[in-house]
């Protein structure tokens, strides 16, 4: 954090003030920016603003007793938006549980995320119908292995590395600095390196695993661990949406082309609490928070767009859209209906199972026995 940007190993394209000033490490990623149009820039900005306002609304819903829990993404918008747009439609995305905007970009209705946090489902959506955005996984790093197995499957069924970038597939899996300590995350890297899977590990280093700082997880910058597994590793300024896009685009392209997996460490910050059950004032230095708030990804990108001459009307329209979206999400969240009790028993097994069938029948009889009584 104390190093000057240009000497740092971190890929950065935009300074915190929103000035286009690529770091030395950014050189090989610059060509990927050519793919972006002005409309893409506007979409990046719009999505970051919309998701932050959504995030606030969801936290409010939790405070009002409408959600069991909320998992804020405030501060991590650039890492998530940039990386999500680098994925192609045919790619598969395995999130952790904080990647709300990635789901939105892949076509997921944000209310579907709230369904799980409102306690009406353990999942919430069908990945194949929502941009191959797989379900949230709550046991940290478990999904890294599912992603690696899925990527192995792409190799085995010949859906990758054919030379056609329009159809070749890859996987991107999201996890964090806390999850990087899990055995599963490391086993996933071993398997991915061993089989050279078409896969990007996107590690959002938001500096805190609930109350424990990243320094407890690792004595080395996390992207350097990639070298130990024998795969490329890149550290990117995760609060720089353009850098996050460019780095991920390159590594996903390489993955689809058969060049194997890579690890991206996106340096960002969990500005909010871990969840609505957390109180970061008990363990975090206010100065550290202020440092990162001054590097806010949305403020930075807005300054960049304004420097390019994007009109105020657009920025205002985005704010209005974000307000409208938050209101719409709130209205529809309150309309989420509870499931019937049969969901307890449905889909535990694919094939009939006598114990589950007997217990479902028993519950039906038991509850029916109260009907008409004084219960």
């Amino acid at each position: 954090m104390s190093a000057t940007p240009n000497a740092s190993p971190t890929v950065q394209l935009l300074s915190p003030a929103g000035v286009f000033a690529p770091s030395e490490a950014a050189a090989e990623f610059l060509p990927y920016l050519d793919r972006l149009t002005e409309a893409d820039h506007r979409r990046f900005y719009r999505d970051m603003v919309v998701i932050r306002r959504f995030d606030k609304e969801a936290a409010n819903l939790q405070r009002q007793g409408q959600l069991a829990l909320w998992v804020p993404s405030h501060g991590q918008e650039a890492a998530q938006v940039g990386s999500a747009y680098a994925a192609r439609p045919q790619d598969h995305i395995f999130p952790s549980y904080r990647e709300h905007v990635v789901g939105m970009i892949r076509g997921l209705d944000l209310v579907d995320i709230l369904r799980m946090l409102r306690g009406v489902t353990l999942g919430g959506w069908t990945p194949e119908d929502h941009g191959n955005f797989h379900l949230y996984t709550l046991v940290l790093a478990s999904q890294t292995l599912h992603a690696t197995g899925y990527a192995m499957g792409m190799q085995l069924d010949g859906s990758t590395a054919t030379g056609n970038p329009e159809t070749d597939q890859a996987v991107i899996v999201y996890y964090g600095d806390g999850a990087s300590s899990q055995g599963d995350a490391n086993e996933a890297l071993v398997f991915a390196a061993s089989y050279q899977t078409p896969q990007v590990f996107f590690l959002q280093n938001n500096h805190w695993a609930i109350s424990v700082p990243v320094t407890r997880q690792s004595r080395t910058p996390l992207y350097l661990r990639a070298g130990g597994f024998g795969i490329p590793g890149t550290q990117v300024d995760g609060n720089d949406v353009l850098a996050s896009y460019a780095v991920t685009a390159k590594h996903l392209d390489d993955a689809r082309a058969g060049k194997g997996p890579a690890l991206i460490e996106a340096l960002t910050y969990r500005v909010g609490a871990h969840t609505t059950a957390d109180d970061p004032t008990k363990y975090r230095d206010p100065d550290e928070l202020a440092y990162w708030v001054a590097r806010d990804p949305i403020v930075r990108f807005r300054a960049y767009l304004q420097g390019l001459g994007v009109e105020q009307e657009f920025l205002d329209a985005v704010d209005e859209e974000a307000e409208d979206n938050a209101a719409d999400v709130r209205r529809r969240a309150l309309e989420i209906h509870s499931p019937e009790k049969n969901v307890i028993f449905d889909n535990v097994y694919a094939e009939p199972h006598p114990r589950v069938q007997e217990q479902e029948a028993w519950l039906g009889r038991y509850e029916a026995s109260f009907e008409g009584g004084d219960a």
């Binding site: 069908t126 478990s142 197995g149 499957g153 085995l156 055995g183 086993e187 996933a188 398997f191 097994y349």
Partner: protein, 349 residues
């Protein structure tokens, strides 16, 4: 009792390939070869079936169950994996999501626990979490049990942990014929199946009927008829029970032996029918007795057949201690005599 639910997939031999009448209908095979033949058949029938595990490729597994399959099907169907059980199970889940039907080999019973979280928190719940939108046709093969004089973590019977977990099915063949068919039926199932292979029964040969299975995957089966006491068990315990029945017969006691075959779900039909006849039940297992498969069956039979019983259901189990050094394993493992001691107690009520 709605005990035995037989799906269409299990009602018939797992493949549509009829055995030609001219060909051999039976073969005498050890369980390792029967499992090998079952795996080969499943791989021939469905290109999505693949094997994963440690040392299962050119070596053919430490017990040689996969011998020859690497040479026959290649490294895209038989995957020697890195040495990490959670990695094996976790990537198998991803492969199943992709449409494959992975069969994972865990090298020994005591080595499954590094993969326990992926099995119980992920594999078992994937379909439920996806609200029925995915299937999880993953088979996890685990050589298990004692009687082989081996070192720590190589002789254990951890089946209760998995039977306790909703979303899993747990089975264990006791003989080569069942091993051949149950392996194919397990692979054909769309649910995750923990397949416990009794390694002390790996080597004795048995007759395998290659033409017909004779029972669905989750059926229990009477393997010796008798009238005085019912004894039941699974895996390697079945041969101990048959020895006990033979010894008892010489003393004029008629024991009916039931091979459980399926640990979850349990097929109570044959068990209750047998208890109705004998009025006595002894449940035997190598596993620790506390909170075990035997405890569960004892409780359920007492609930369902209290008035048919002339004595409490008795359990014969491994002790509630770590599996001991092999030098004293015969004192730990239920023997025919320990089974008969329980039979005598049941009859004395």
């Amino acid at each position: 009792m709605s005990d035995t639910i037989v799906s269409a997939a299990h009602a018939a031999p797992a493949s549509g390939t009829a055995v030609t009448p001219a060909g051999p209908e039976t073969a005498s095979l050890p369980m390792t070869k029967a499992l090998n033949a079952g795996l080969r058949k499943a791989m021939q029938d469905n290109p999505k079936v693949l094997l994963m595990g440690e040392d299962i490729g050119p070596l053919g597994g430490v017990f040689r169950v996969t011998e020859g399959l690497y040479a026959e099907f290649g490294d895209k169907r038989v995957l020697d994996t890195p040495l990490a059980e959670s990695g094996i199970i976790g990537t198998a889940i991803g492969l199943a999501l992709r449409g494959f039907r992975p069969v994972c080999e865990i090298q020994f019973d005591g080595f499954v626990f590094p993969g326990f979280d992926q099995i119980t928190s992920q594999l078992s719940r994937m379909r439920n979490r996806h609200e029925g939108q995915v299937i999880m046709p993953v088979v996890i093969r685990i050589p298990y049990g004692g009687h082989i004089g081996s070192i720590e973590h190589h002789q254990e019977s951890p089946e209760a942990y998995f039977a306790h977990t909703p979303g899993l099915r747990v089975v264990s063949p006791s003989n080569p014929h069942d091993a051949y068919w149950m392996m194919q039926e397990a692979i054909a199932s769309d649910d995750p199946i923990i397949f416990f292979e009794p390694k002390s029964r790996y080597w004795p040969k048995g007759e395998v009927n290659l033409g017909t299975s004779g029972a669905p995957l989750h059926a229990s089966r009477v393997v010796r008829t008798g009238t005085d006491v019912t004894v039941l068990g699974h895996g390697a315990m079945v041969s101990v029970l048959l020895q006990a029945a033979e010894l008892a017969a010489a003393e004029g006691i008629s024991i009916e032996v039931i091979d459980l075959r399926s640990i979850s779900p349990v097929d109570y039909g044959p068990i209750l029918a047998s208890v109705e006849k004998t009025g006595h039940l002894v449940v035997a297992q190598e596993a620790h007795g506390f909170v075990s498969v035997g405890s569960e069956i004892a409780a359920t039979v007492m609930e369902k057949a209290f008035y048919l019983l002339e004595a409490p259901v008795l359990r014969v189990s491994g002790f509630d201690t770590p599996f001991p050094p092999a030098a004293v394993e015969t004192h730990f493992l239920p023997s025919p005599d320990r089974v008969l001691e329980a039979v005598d107690r049941a009859l004395a009520y």
